[in-house]
């Protein structure tokens, strides 16, 4: 079961990953976007990770809400509103939850991804972060449905996200700045699908 401490560990872990991988994410974005995904995520997640040390949070949802607002306020680009909305919606789904198991985290992830869809209006196959999230949600639900605990379900979700991320390599972008490249966007991983997969891998390590 994941409690407030697990969620703060998640954000801390992801901030570290994004910090280490900032150049890689920016390189992916340089190929098909505008070369700022890594630096933006690094800046926003560093701020989000500072929250836990700077103030006390009464509950998971209050914490996640602040994480979401911090990302909206500090990331910029499309990633700020998308990741920010993800955490804000996840917070909404986890209101009054003190200990989150697979059912609660699953509901939180689903609400978060619905927020991403509402904000970004992407569909599967557009070569966006949703191409990692869609299979991840499916794998999470399927694992949880067949009796996996939270860690197991998150592990399955992270694996499915990685497969979805790899599949973006051959897609033609239809959303975001990469869409301007048309056919030339083929052959590159989507940066958003890559950072989303990292977020799920972090979750699998920490939300236990």
């Amino acid at each position: 079961m994941a409690n407030l401490a697990s969620f703060t560990a998640w954000i801390a872990d992801y901030a570290e990953v994004v910090n280490d991988q900032a150049d890689y994410l920016t390189d992916l974005d340089r190929a098909i976007g505008d070369a700022d995904h890594g630096s933006n995520m690094k800046r926003g997640m560093a701020k989000a990770a500072e929250l836990a040390g700077a103030e006390e949070f009464a509950s998971i949802d209050v914490y996640l809400k602040k994480v979401g607002m911090t990302l909206v306020s500090n990331v910029g680009g499309a990633s700020g509103p998308l990741y920010g909305t993800f955490f804000l919606r996840m917070a909404g789904a986890l209101a009054d939850v003190e200990e989150a198991g697979a059912a609660e985290v699953g509901a939180g992830l689903r609400a978060g991804v619905e927020g991403i869809l509402a904000r970004g209006k992407a569909e599967a196959g557009d070569k966006t972060m949703y191409d990692a999230w869609a299979p991840a949600l499916e794998a999470f639900d399927s694992a949880a449905g067949s009796g996996s605990d939270l860690a197991g379900a998150l592990g399955a979700a992270a694996e499915a996200a990685a497969t979805g991320r790899d599949a973006t390599q051959e897609l033609i972008a239809r959303k975001g700045r990469a869409s301007y490249l048309g056919e030339r966007s083929r052959g590159h991983l989507d940066p958003g699908a890559t950072s989303s997969t990292m977020l799920l891998e972090s979750a699998a390590r920490t939300l236990t």
Partner: protein, 334 residues
């Protein structure tokens, strides 16, 4: 990377501080929110005009703040949209009771952040906000399968024209309708000879060989149509104008307002030479240049190259174009 900077992370705020120092008579800069304002408070009853976007396109947008143009400009990180907090601060500050118009370029990040800001400003302070999304770049195929045309050069012309209308006291609805009309009548196309280097990235955004150029490049170095062999200016002018002229008819009586814009790394010598070529082609095509602008107005850091914007004019637009403007980047009639 060879740039006059200190730390890549501080580029935007340090540049804003310099802008504030350089133009202290006309501008005030909120460094915390990274918003450039006119030095004086908004006149009650005047529609507030807020624009913004990533930094690196100077003088747009901060340099286009002033009498007859913008009231506020939000500066994002280099090539990164600003965040809703900045737009919220700007929107509240320039609400003179007549509402605020957001001028947004069509990039996913800019659109999303401005959308969030408008929602929050309405919920928070009850400010009436309308938005126009500029999407004038003919290099991009406008279809269900892209994010739509990018907002480029027409943004500058729109900010001047709608700025004059707001100054004149037109209502928010009228300013928004005018902005939509300008956007619908404007078309742009750009090209690049070299890449630019985003300070935080440290290396060029793309590679172009000595004998290549990128046609249809965006203002962040994003490619558009194709990469082709380097050609003489005359042919480049043809390649830039062909998609513009085949997209919209500019042969009306009032002619067109034409901007030949440098991307930041091309000398004026070459821009004037290009304007000569553009003027000749337009004349042959039956398009009268009613007004023009030649120079660096919407740039991409040090990228070499240029873009052409052609805007269908009528008497109202030309009158507003001629109205006085006093900004660091654009100044006449004062």
């Amino acid at each position: 990377m060879k740039k006059l900077i200190n730390d890549p992370a501080d580029v935007v705020v340090e540049a804003l501080r310099g802008m504030a120092a350089a133009h202290s008579d006309r501008l005030r800069v909120d460094l915390e929110n990274r918003v450039v304002y006119r030095a004086e408070k908004i006149r009650p009853g005047k529609v507030g005009l807020v624009s913004g976007g990533g930094s690196g396109h100077e003088p747009m947008h901060g340099g286009l703040v002033g009498v007859g143009m913008l009231d506020a400009a939000c500066a994002g990180e280099v090539f990164t949209s600003p965040v809703p907090d900045q737009m919220m601060a700007a929107t509240k500050e320039v609400d003179g009771g007549a509402g605020v118009l957001h001028i947004v370029k069509n990039y996913t990040g800019d659109v999303m952040n401005f959308e969030m800001a408008a929602e929050l400003a309405a919920a928070d302070a009850g400010t009436e906000v309308q938005s126009v999304v500029v999407d004038d770049d003919v290099a991009v195929q406008d279809s269900l399968y892209t994010a739509g045309r990018r907002g480029v050069g027409t943004t500058v012309l729109l900010e001047k024209i709608v700025g004059a209308a707001a100054e004149e006291g037109r209502s928010l609805a009228d300013c928004a309708a005018l902005a939509t009309k300008v956007n619908e009548g404007g078309r742009s196309m750009g090209m690049a000879l070299t890449s630019c280097t985003v300070p935080a990235a440290g290396k060029p955004t793309f590679e172009l060989a000595e004998d290549e150029m990128e046609m249809g490049v965006g203002i962040h170095g994003e490619p558009g149509r194709k990469r082709v062999p380097l050609a003489p200016a005359k042919e480049v002018a043809e390649m830039l104008l062909e998609p513009i002229l085949s997209d919209l008819d500019f042969t009306g009586d009032s002619g067109a307002i034409v901007m030949l814009n440098g991307m930041g790394g091309t000398p004026l010598l070459e821009l004037y030479l290009m304007f000569d070529e553009v003027a000749q082609i337009l004349e042959k095509s039956g398009v009268t240049i009613a007004r023009n602008l030649v120079g660096n107005y919407i740039t991409s850091l040090e990228m070499a190259g240029c873009s052409v914007t052609v805007l269908r004019a009528d008497d109202d637009l030309i009158g507003l174009w001629d109205a006085p403007v006093n900004t660091p980047g654009l100044r006449w009639g004062v």
